[in-house]
């Protein structure tokens, strides 16, 4: 069973108003424990609504959300504590920074959890390291940082709460390649070090192929597929139907096969493609 599970969940915005809109339609999905799940889909497919249901910011109109098998919307569950267990980083989180120093801003979450100052300081430092920022920045005002640095401070602010599940909505949106790699790499090392569960919402197939273990595909308010990267990315039709594209390198190997070169179609990263082509060359040489 997954760490987080949603069963038959529907969500309607502005219910009983003229602006009623069905955002999620009887969705079922499972998010694995101790791994990274990529949540992919085109804009307006319901990804952002779904992640807010996962930490109780929104309550499903119908259906249930389970964390470790427990219904998170049950009366016995404390909403605020739930949010400490399932941390959520919104899109463009740098716009939520407000404290005078980076230190204070990252400490906001841990302080709200009621942790003492020693533990808070420890967590702030550890989160700062995961996002790859320097300790000298702790005393700086977050408003004096560059865009990419602000983003990382905001992510550290949620990491410092050390949630069991960390959800990030488009954490690398609008960043340059180095910025993307630093943030996604930081998230991966955080996940490996803490053995926690991470969910990343993204529409970059290339990034998800590199950083996630499992994939959940959404389209028009429903989950259309879920499985390992291999399962999902080898199913080109499924992705095209969901308005998504396959990683460029996967498309390239498909074109190579069309040219009569027998290479695997389950290749999603450049490194794997290099290995596959080299092993093809070896196979051919041995045959000759």
């Amino acid at each position: 069973m997954g760490k987080l599970e949603i069963r038959d969940v529907s969500y309607i915005y502005g219910k009983d108003t003229p602006f009623e809109k069905l955002a999620l339609d009887r969705v079922n999905a499972e998010f694995c424990d101790n791994c990274i799940t990529g949540l992919i889909g085109h804009t307006g497919c319901g990804k952002s609504t779904l992640v807010q249901l996962l930490n109780g910011l929104l309550v499903p109109t119908q259906g249930k959300v389970f964390l470790d098998g427990q219904d998170i919307n049950a009366k016995s569950v404390n909403r605020r504590e739930l949010r400490f267990r399932v941390g959520l980083v919104f899109q463009y989180p740098e716009y939520q920074l407000f404290e005078e120093t980076v230190q204070a801003d990252i400490a906001f979450g841990p302080k709200n959890m009621g942790l003492d100052s020693e533990e808070t300081a420890r967590r702030v430092l550890s989160a700062l390291h995961f996002v790859g920022l320097d300790e000298t920045l702790l005393t700086v005002s977050p408003f004096d940082l560059s865009g990419g640095q602000k983003r990382r401070v905001a992510i550290a602010g949620v990491m410092a709460m050390q949630p069991e599940v960390l959800i990030l909505d488009e954490p690398a949106a609008g960043l340059d390649p180095i910025g993307r790699e630093e943030i996604l790499g930081g998230i991966k090392s955080y996940q490996r070090a803490r053995n926690s569960s991470v969910i990343i919402v993204s529409h970059s197939m290339e990034d998800m192929a590199r950083y996630s273990d499992n994939i959940v595909v959404m389209s028009h308010g429903t989950v259309t597929a879920q499985g390992t990267c291999r399962d999902i990315f080898s199913n080109h039709e499924l992705l095209t139907d969901a308005g998504l594209s396959i990683p460029q390198v996967t498309a390239f190997l498909a074109a190579l096969r069309k040219n009569g070169i027998d290479v695997s179609k389950d290749i999603f990263t450049v490194d794997d493609a290099v290995k596959e082509i080299r092993s093809y060359m070896l196979r051919e040489r041995n045959r000759a």
Partner: protein
């Protein structure tokens, strides 16, 4: 004929008042941009590429150097306000955040904003607005409220707003950075249409490599200087150099580069089909 001629252009923000050092954001840039061309400017965040764009339509005045636009020098101190506004009309600009460049609430009223400022005759404004909206495929949204549009649609309205001023050149300052893949695709095809069919000079600032390969020419900016300049093929041949300044190359280019120690492959391959044919040929003929 060159539309833009830059001779040793430098720019620094005056921070002497705050006690900061004056760092040159643009440092002695010399270059020419042909009329009717489609130029992509690449560079990581903070490389100075957006500053360069703002100099080109005189939102920022270069600290030193000579800037000639359409055969007329515009960098001298004797340039009048009227001339500056004429340059801004001829060189339109579309920004990154769609929410921060729409001035009014109704689509067609926003498109009319530019020509209204220019004092164009009301009947002509009407015609320009209608034709600009048609060009970007937003006619049916003319009376809609701007805040209900998607990001890509907002950017198309912003482009229409620039078109209604009948520009000779449009600068896109990371206009696709905040969009999803569908929005990006729409904007890119609009840009290509404007360049090919309307013969508008396009300068597209981005850090998306897949967008960059579609331009006639790529200029890479680093530390306020020109780092690389050439066709997509030429620029993407320098994989090492690009990586050194934090830029990516398309996955296919990357793959070819990584395979080059083992196979005799051309560099700077950017097209999937072409690349697959070349690689298949090499693998079959075993020129290892």
């Amino acid at each position: 004929m060159a539309y833009f001629e830059l001779e040793n252009i430098s720019f620094s923000y005056d921070e002497s008042a705050e006690g900061g050092e004056t760092k040159k954001v643009i440092d002695g840039v010399s270059l020419e941009i042909e009329k009717g061309s489609f130029v992509c400017v690449l560079g990581h965040n903070g490389s100075g590429k957006s500053t360069l764009a703002k100099i080109l339509n005189l939102v920022l005045t270069p600290t030193s150097g000579r800037l000639v636009i359409g055969g007329k020098e515009v960098s001298g101190p004797e340039i009048s306000e009227d001339e500056i506004f004429d340059i801004r009309r001829r060189i339109g600009m579309v920004f990154q955040n769609p929410d921060n460049q729409l001035v009014t609430t109704i689509v067609e009223e926003d498109v009319a904003f530019g020509p209204e400022n220019l004092g164009v005759d009301p009947e002509e404004i009407r015609q320009r607005v209608d034709s600009a909206l048609q060009t970007v495929g937003m006619s049916e949204y003319a009376k809609h409220s701007t805040h209900q549009l998607s990001g890509g649609q907002k950017q198309r309205v912003a482009i229409a707003g620039v078109l209604a001023m009948q520009p000779e050149c449009i600068i896109f300052d990371e206009s696709t950075a905040m969009l999803d893949p569908i929005g990006r695709r729409d904007i890119m095809s609009t840009i290509e249409y404007l360049n090919r069919e309307r013969e508008i000079t396009v300068i597209h600032i981005t850090h998306n490599m897949d967008e960059a390969v579609r331009a006639d020419r790529i200029i890479v900016i680093n530390d306020g200087k020109i780092y690389l300049d050439g066709t997509a093929k030429e620029v993407f041949s320098s994989v090492e150099k690009l990586r050194r300044v934090g830029l990516d190359v398309p996955q296919v280019t990357d793959l070819f580069y990584d395979l080059s120690p083992y196979l005799d492959l051309p560099s700077g391959v950017i097209d999937i089909e072409e690349g697959a044919a070349v690689l298949a040929d090499r693998l079959k003929n075993g020129k290892a």
